[in-house]
């Protein structure tokens, strides 16, 4: 619904090619920057860059459900956990499994399997998507509102299962000693792939169906859209990428335990997509960068510090107070967030430039 419609008339093949070239160029610039970062930046900055990539994957796929399709899911932490555990179980070596499963040995076939990282990510995504499918089927048959509570409860259940299925997850001890496979290239590669797939999906007839369901489900049904099917499909699609992101995260921090995947994670993502603008992919990306960076900066509030001779004992939890206050304030006063429902387009950029030039009288 964004500026695309306004510029539909001067869409011809040359502008299309121009846009594609520009997109490709910016991806190359990004890769160049990553190459530079990989060589020159310190470990902390690289780590933040990797976090940003993972949060972009999560935010973009989460925004697909909450923003573009208008269904309120609270499951990312559950999907993240499923993806992280699945991929970790498949990449750990049999010896490592034997060593870390001290309460109960791991169940047989899994205890011997060790797969390459890429394959484990794929399996993580597929398993997560399958779980999402199982969950969506009962929920989307009834009112959409219940999705919020069912997904919230599902997050708790995943934690309960991770704690109790000891022969699969090693219980509260978690999985240790994962090989740090996730590097800048893996994180950003998956990130670019996710954004590409999501943008293509949103601009397809499926994407228009999603927006129709968001605006008015009954009217969408009347136009021949099978709302149940489109919701279930999108839910599984988004879960796939969240599962993959979970795999990336697990191999970034190399130790996972059930307590890692609390509702706090979902809350952070919710803040990102709300600040970016519900329904805007570009907004989600911008906000993911902003919040991941800003979250690091806000740590100041939780650590003891001294300014102007006034000693300030760090208060743990202060960041979350600030974040939740921001969330409420944005919802009440600036519902659109940074981007509203608009997307960044090259045409929009050029149009903006032209207007600026006109104003300057050139």
């Amino acid at each position: 619904m964004s500026s695309q419609r306004i510029f539909r008339k001067d869409f011809n093949s040359t502008t299309k090619i121009r846009n594609k070239v520009l997109t490709l160029l910016s991806v190359i610039v990004l890769l160049g920057f990553l190459f530079y970062a990989d060589r020159n930046l310190d470990a902390y900055s690289v780590r933040i860059l990797q976090n940003i990539a993972i949060f972009i994957i999560l935010a973009v796929s989460y925004n697909l459900i909450n923003g573009i399709m208008g269904q309120f899911s609270l499951a990312p932490n559950a999907f993240l956990a499923i993806g992280a555990y699945t991929s970790a179980i498949f990449t750990l070596s049999p010896e490592e499994k034997l060593r870390s499963f001290i309460i109960e040995p791991m169940i047989w076939p899994l205890s011997q399997i060790s797969l390459p990282f890429s394959l484990s990510l794929l399996i993580a995504g597929i398993v997560t998507a399958f779980v999402a499918l199982l969950m969506a089927a009962p929920v989307f048959r009834v009112r959409g509102d219940y999705l919020a509570i069912v997904t919230l409860g599902f997050g708790e259940v995943v934690q309960v299962l991770a704690n109790n299925l000891v022969s699969l997850t090693n219980g509260s001890l978690g999985l240790k000693g994962l090989y740090p496979f996730t590097n800048l290239w893996w994180a950003w590669g998956v990130c670019i792939f996710t954004v590409f797939c999501t943008v293509r999906l949103v601009n397809s007839s499926y994407g228009r169906a999603m927006k129709a369901v968001r605006e008015d489900e009954m009217a969408a049904e009347a136009m021949g859209i099978n709302a149940f099917r489109i919701k279930t499909f999108t839910f599984a699609f988004s879960a796939f990428f969240q599962g993959v992101a979970g795999g990336l995260l697990a191999h970034l921090i190399t130790t996972i335990s059930p307590s890692l995947f609390t509702f706090m994670f979902t809350f952070n993502l919710l803040i990102i997509i709300v600040i970016g603008g519900l329904g805007s992919i570009t907004g989600s990306i911008l906000a993911a960068i902003l919040i991941t960076w800003g979250g690091e900066a806000l740590r100041v509030f939780e650590e003891p510090s001294t300014f102007f001779g006034f000693h300030y004992e760090g208060i743990p939890g202060m960041r979350m107070v600030i974040f939740s206050a921001i969330l409420i304030v944005v919802m009440i006063f600036a519902r659109g967030g940074i981007m509203g429902r608009y997307e960044f387009t090259w045409d929009g950029l050029f149009h903006w430039f032209k207007r600026k030039l006109l104003i300057l009288g050139i």
Binding site: Q71, F72, D145, V157, V160, G317, M320, A325, L327
Partner: protein
């Protein structure tokens, strides 16, 4: 591990299950009321339980107020807080899409929890038990705590009060009308916001009563104590038929009984206790989405 399933054991578990069920029921009533009127899942409802527990705790321990005054004060303050939350956070976005209201509700919930963490600290505080609620009666081999009887009494009395308010008073009539058709109600010259404020006050007061009873049973007051009870109370409200007050209480009782009996039958499963209510919810959604006593709600 097997447990001897004799009569007194079963009855004992029944007592525990009913007590837990009453607590869920008290919370579920408020949840159900707010949902019935606003179609909003008030995520902050569980946190009102926590707030009321802190109010009562501070009243008794810090200010040394006698417990009845402290309890009543806590209920009143929580009701006021409920109205303030509605005015501050929910009223400005009443006309916006439902998803925005849900996000705001999550924000309020997190704000309450983390404010509690920042202002009071995360260390659990031990809730003092007034002498009246101590002790227990022994009937045969069954031990009935006095607190269980009090919980049941409080729940029954509050349920009757709520039912009378909703069914017999003018404001209750307005509440029921509002849950049917908000626009028509406004055309009838009813101050919608006043009715909604009243609903929040009543629901929050119920949550506060539940919170205080909860703390006497599980006397550890901490900022995140309301999350799980809140979640289960919603399941109870759905189970009973959301929007229906008697249904909510009934749903709470059933959920409490199921949870306690689940662990009693097979103690090895106690780790999965928190998962039971969720699976129950899925089953209800598949078989009878309107709950036990619910009627189909207009969308």
């Amino acid at each position: 591990m097997t447990v001897p399933l004799d009569f007194s054991f079963a009855f004992q578990q029944l007592v525990y299950g009913l007590t837990l069920g009453c607590l869920y029921g008290l919370l579920a009533i408020g949840y159900s009321m707010v949902y019935g009127v606003l179609r909003l899942i008030n995520f902050a409802h569980g946190d009102l339980l926590m707030v009321s527990a802190y109010f009562a705790f501070f009243g008794m321990v810090i200010f040394q107020i006698p417990w009845p005054v402290s309890f009543i004060g806590s209920v009143l303050f929580t009701a006021i807080l409920g109205i303030l939350i509605d005015r501050g956070a929910y009223r400005p976005i009443r006309k916006s899409p439902r998803i925005n209201a849900l996000i705001t509700a999550i924000g309020v919930s997190f704000l309450l929890e983390n404010l509690g963490l920042v202002l009071i600290g995360g260390r659990p505080k031990s809730f003092p038990l007034p002498a009246l609620f101590e002790g227990s009666f022994v009937i045969g081999a069954v031990n009935v705590p006095a607190l269980s009887i009090w919980t049941l009494l409080v729940t029954l009395v509050l349920l009757v009060v709520c039912a009378v308010v909703v069914k017999k008073t003018r404001i209750g009539m307005a509440m029921r009308a509002l849950s049917r058709d908000m626009e028509t109600v406004m055309l009838m010259g009813i101050d919608k916001d006043r009715v909604i404020s009243f609903t929040f006050a009543l629901g929050s007061a119920m949550a506060a009563a539940g919170g205080i009873m909860w703390c006497m049973k599980y006397p550890a007051v901490e900022p995140f104590m309301g999350v799980i009870p809140g979640l289960k109370a919603f399941v109870a409200a759905v189970l009973g038929g959301i929007g229906n007050i008697t249904g909510a209480a009934l749903g709470g009782l059933i959920l409490g009984l199921i949870e306690v009996l689940f662990v009693a039958v097979e103690p090895d499963w106690s780790g999965y206790r928190d998962a039971v209510s969720f699976f129950l919810m899925i089953v209800i959604l598949l078989t009878r989405p309107t709950g036990i006593m619910g009627e189909r709600l207009p969308d």
